[in-house]
Amino acid sequence: METASTITLAGFRLIIPELTIICVALMLLLLDLIVKKKGVIAAVGIAGTFVALYGTFKLYGISEPVTAFSDMFVLDGYGNFFKVIFYLNVILTICISLKYMTVEKASFGEYYALLLFATAGMMFMASAADLIVIYLGLELMALSTYILAGLMRKQLRSNEAALKYFFLGAFSSAFLLYGISLTYGLTGTTNLKEIAASLITLNLAENPIVFLGLIFLVVSFGFKIALVPFHMWAPDVYEGAPTSITAFMSVGPKAAGFAVMGRVLFDAFGGQQVQWNSILIPLAVITMAAGSIIALAQTNIKRMLAYSSIAHAGYMLLGIIAGTPGGLTSTVNYLMIYTFMNIGAFAIIIMLRREGFQGENLEDYMGLAKSHPLASALMLIFMFSLTGIPPTAGFVGKFYVFLEAINSGYVYLAVIAVIFSAISAFFYLRVVMYMYMKDPKQEVVLTTSYSMNFALAVTAVMVLLIGVFPSFLLNLVRVSILG
């Protein structure tokens, strides 16, 4: 049953990007002792991420999936594409947080190291071919993000966010482990491909305990991607955590959760599609509903975006429910687009923050267009994109996800999604209305920096570019996933 342990030098070649990220993170910890300027540490972190990106591009040429370390790790286009999302996420997050963390008086060198450790965890999750690696990657990501959420040690909000995130995260990883244990006990293996084979050879397709294990796994992934009813932590943590970390968390762990979910459901439980859809379809519907409707009542913009990110998780789930490779492609495409528009929106929120002014309430955006027309125009683009109005990227993302759902025969789900998408326009466009149609109540001074301007330029250009020329990104995703 057991394969001989095969740790070869060739295997290490495949995890060069992960090793790069981890080495850079360790280097940053040491560098923090010598270098006083945090800008240098951030720059080294970004440079290291670019090196890893280069490594991933070099490995992109491999068309066939290659496994290493006794089939624990798999390198394929799917994982590589997710890694690109994680690189973009960490680079943009570092760019928007440099000045912000100084304002928050939480400018620690560990911040950048932890961002990279979390990214390494996500990368292992995206490339995991075994439930053990999924667990380890997930914990590396989660433990780093717990600390990041509570990094503003002197602020009670941040403490409370970290505390809630930690307890619910630990709770969900216990569910993941119980699911792994049940699956392992019945199939005799933790390898995803072997699980799929065992389910057929041992005739376990209809076994209720396998279904129970599957439910436990979906519940724990649901916690990570914030599906209702496992979303309780999300609004509190998003509100209390440093805003740059909120941006990081709303993209990275969510994308990693989807990466793992896609792999486990398609690779290991591909034959049980009817069973997992019976769990995922109700979850998707209530996620879209609760996310869109509760967001209407929010006055804190970070909290509003938390509910919005819950609703977006519901839309993304439609691609997985479709159950086809095309559906998975549309979800990944959506995640890439979501990375740009969400980090862009959080970048604007961060700009409003300055010493003695939170800038998180909707009222703070009143009349912003009069004093800061450019920042308001960018926020307008991001809000339009999050709503899904063409010609922004958000429209493209939603369009393909809904299309795949319809192609697989889930017309009613697409209809429900469009309805809630229309409802969500209310709270996104309310921000625009506050900026453009109300009179300013107070003087708002924006905190800008070069890195922040760079991040805003990249996100805004990408949102518009993907919105106008969607085929480039879509082809890239197709080539990566479908081969």
């Binding site: 667990y135 914990e139 909000r157 403490n159 409370e160 505390l163 244990s181 049940l182 006990g185």
Partner: protein, 100 residues
């Protein structure tokens, strides 16, 4: 010899106690202990399965779980202490700054 099903039932019972404790108890330290109980119930079932299947994978995972649980405890208690310094309470009901 104790049959496999006994271990699995024991594991399920301990896991359920952990879930109940997590949801029902109002003291953060006890909530934390409940999470550890859940993790250890998984360890019981993994070792039992591993012995039954004569495969080492389960026991390897147990070692990883123990290690990660230690790291998790360190981080969790650190967060708890950071919280306690600003707000000296460990009652779940009194942690209600963020809501809505």
């Amino acid at each position: 010899m104790v049959p496999l099903s006994w271990y699995i039932v024991l594991s399920a019972i301990v896991f359920s106690i952990g879930v109940f404790g997590f949801l029902a108890r109002r003291n953060l330290i006890i909530v934390f202990m409940s999470v550890e109980l859940m993790l250890n119930s998984v360890n019981i079932s993994l070792v039992a399965f591993s012995h039954y299947l004569q495969s080492m994978r389960g026991q390897i995972l147990v070692f990883f779980i123990i290690t990660v649980a230690a790291a998790e405890a360190a981080i969790g208690l650190a967060i708890l202490i950071a919280f306690y310094r600003n707000n000296p309470t460990i009652k779940v009901d009194e942690i209600n700054l963020l809501k809505g």
